[in-house]
Symmetry: C2
Subunit: 345 residues, 2 copies
């Protein structure tokens, strides 16, 4: 059966970056996306055409749509970085080998996107999904799970027995909690709402602190003294993050992997970098993919898939929305923030 010439997709309405900096939420998709018909993209050499099964919605997608991600938008292209689908065409030997297989991928930012009936991606960026893995787990198993896996590797390689995780109610936080428990490492999760604490502890976080509560700073100082966390994995980068870092012991590393805050942190104790040998650095999954060896990537992706297949990790899906309904329904689903939102054709 030949594939159609045209498809439905959620198309980006703007080019480049925006001046705005609105933080994590999105009130309405209408200013940013159109649900419309566009031609099915054509694979070039080394690329495959994938018929989408399911796409995940990550914070980076929302930042990108708004023009607030580190990469410029391309008007007229479908949005969406990550998903799972079936390879139905392609050009090149490896593309031919992939044909008929179910693959997961993270698409580029300048090409076609995953919030569409079809996407074109480089064959080299496709990960064949084991048959025992659910679409719900496969659709988002690269961005967040590989980030969790590789950031947890940073903790393990540092030989620290504890770490701090901000915005810990995120999918990433939940994935980290399980890894921490399974490896006997203490995760100190920092969250905004008390209601999320019990679930995060169930998942494996040893301590969960609510940053909006009285006594938060004192409670953290006590934990910093007893658990001696020396790694702060931080998606927020606001003053609370800076203050947590200041309260951590010598040789602490503040690793920023996201910037959810719309305010900027002030470093009140620059002397700690000198006398306490503290460090501030970043983490970016794209850089990991560029620098890791093929063996390291395969081992990591296989490890991630096996963890989902075994049930040690489970994607908590809070809503599955059709592309046709996304402009109307996605903002409210994201606002609830109690699980992963998926898009299906």
């Amino acid at each position: 059966m030949p594939e159609p010439r045209s498809m439905k997709a959620l198309i980006v309405k703007h080019d480049g970056l925006a001046e705005s900096r609105g933080g994590t939420g999105i009130d309405s998709l209408e200013p940013y996306l159109d649900y419309t018909s566009v031609p099915v993209p054509e694979p070039r050499a080394g690329q495959v055409l994938v018929r989408m099964r399911m796409a995940s919605v990550n914070p980076s997608d929302i930042y990108f749509i708004k023009g607030e991600y580190g990469q410029p938008r391309v008007k007229g292209q479908p949005a969406g970085f990550e998903g799972v689908g079936d390879v139905v065409g392609g050009k090149g030997l490896y593309a031919a080998w992939l044909k008929g297989k179910r693959v997961a991928f993270v698409g580029g930012v300048s090409g076609s996107g995953a919030w569409a009936d079809y996407i074109v991606v480089p064959a080299s960026q496709c990960e064949v999904v084991k048959s025992a893995m659910r679409d719900e787990d496969a659709a988002g198993h690269v961005v967040n799970p590989v980030t969790a896996w590789t950031m947890f590797d940073i903790v393990r390689k540092s030989k620290n027995k504890s770490f701090v995780f901000t915005a810990a109610n995120s999918q990433l936080g939940k994935l980290m909690a399980g890894l921490a428990r399974d490896h006997g490492i203490c995760m100190i999760g920092v969250i905004r709402k008390e209601s999320q604490a019990a679930h995060l502890k169930d998942l494996g976080a040893k301590h969960v602190l609510v940053q909006t509560e009285d006594g938060f700073a004192k409670e953290f100082a006590t934990l910093a003294a007893s658990e001696k966390p020396r790694i702060l994995l931080d998606a927020v980068a606001d003053q609370t993050s800076a203050d947590l870092f200041t309260a951590m012991p010598s040789r602490a590393r503040w690793i920023i992997y996201g910037w959810l805050a719309s305010t900027a942190p002030t470093l009140h104790q620059p002397g700690q970098f000198i006398f306490m040998d503290k460090k501030l650095e970043g983490y970016w999954l794209a850089k990991w993919f560029r620098q890791a060896s093929i063996v390291e990537k395969l081992r990591t992706l296989r490890g991630v898939q096996d963890r989902f297949i075994s049930g040690a990790w489970k994607t908590e899906v809070s809503a599955t929305i059709r592309l046709a309904d996304a402009v109307r329904d996605l903002p409210a689903a994201l606002e609830r923030g109690d699980g992963k939102v998926m898009l299906v054709p």
Copy 2:
């Protein structure tokens, strides 16, 4: 000739750290130091007694006296970290070997100090000074010159062809300028007063920018684009430092080795740590001394001495003050800030 039982010294009047944070200057020494008679300290096992020839005055001495350094003061002990003198006694084999030799040293913070007729220091911290080296060069050849040498090693090992240096009119800045020129590396010096620019260029800085001038930010942005400096060696840690770092290219490292500012920097672009792989860290000479191998230390100290003996480095002494006159004369000499101030018994 036996050494006397008592000596003159500048004695610290307070214990511990102060709450204050007054920045780099000092208006009067009277609140902090007494010139008085105290017993000559007794060397314990592994220590030597040194008859002082000359002590240098470093920013860290002033911070320490005021209780604003990273280490608590000990009331009743002489001030002064660094100097040169003759070994006149000691306990242990190595101490006996050092007897009669001229040595330079950096004293501990909890023991006896260099702003005195005599000091006791661990024999292992003494550096025998080659006879061709002037006392003026030897008295301050550890703290600043070894810092310059080892920080310059960071630049060289990074393979960068340029670096940025703040507060570049310091002795350290002048030492760095010569190293930079001799190794064909571009130093971009940042200073406060136009009057210092020509001298710093003479010494070897390729570019000198005056931060108080209009157009400073734009000028730096242009240089950042052409010279691509990826290391910022920074003794200030204020908003100007943070803004320089923000304007630097991807993979830039901000290395804080001092905190002259009394204000704290805000990080307006935390995303640069993620997407541009920037890093913020500290440098502390004491840590280098703890971690470097003996061979590395000997090679470095010999390299430093040879550089002074050859005339490639020269200590610019602006005032030599007797201990007895220091309480009266030292603040004004430091205020001039146009060279190194030395203290002699």
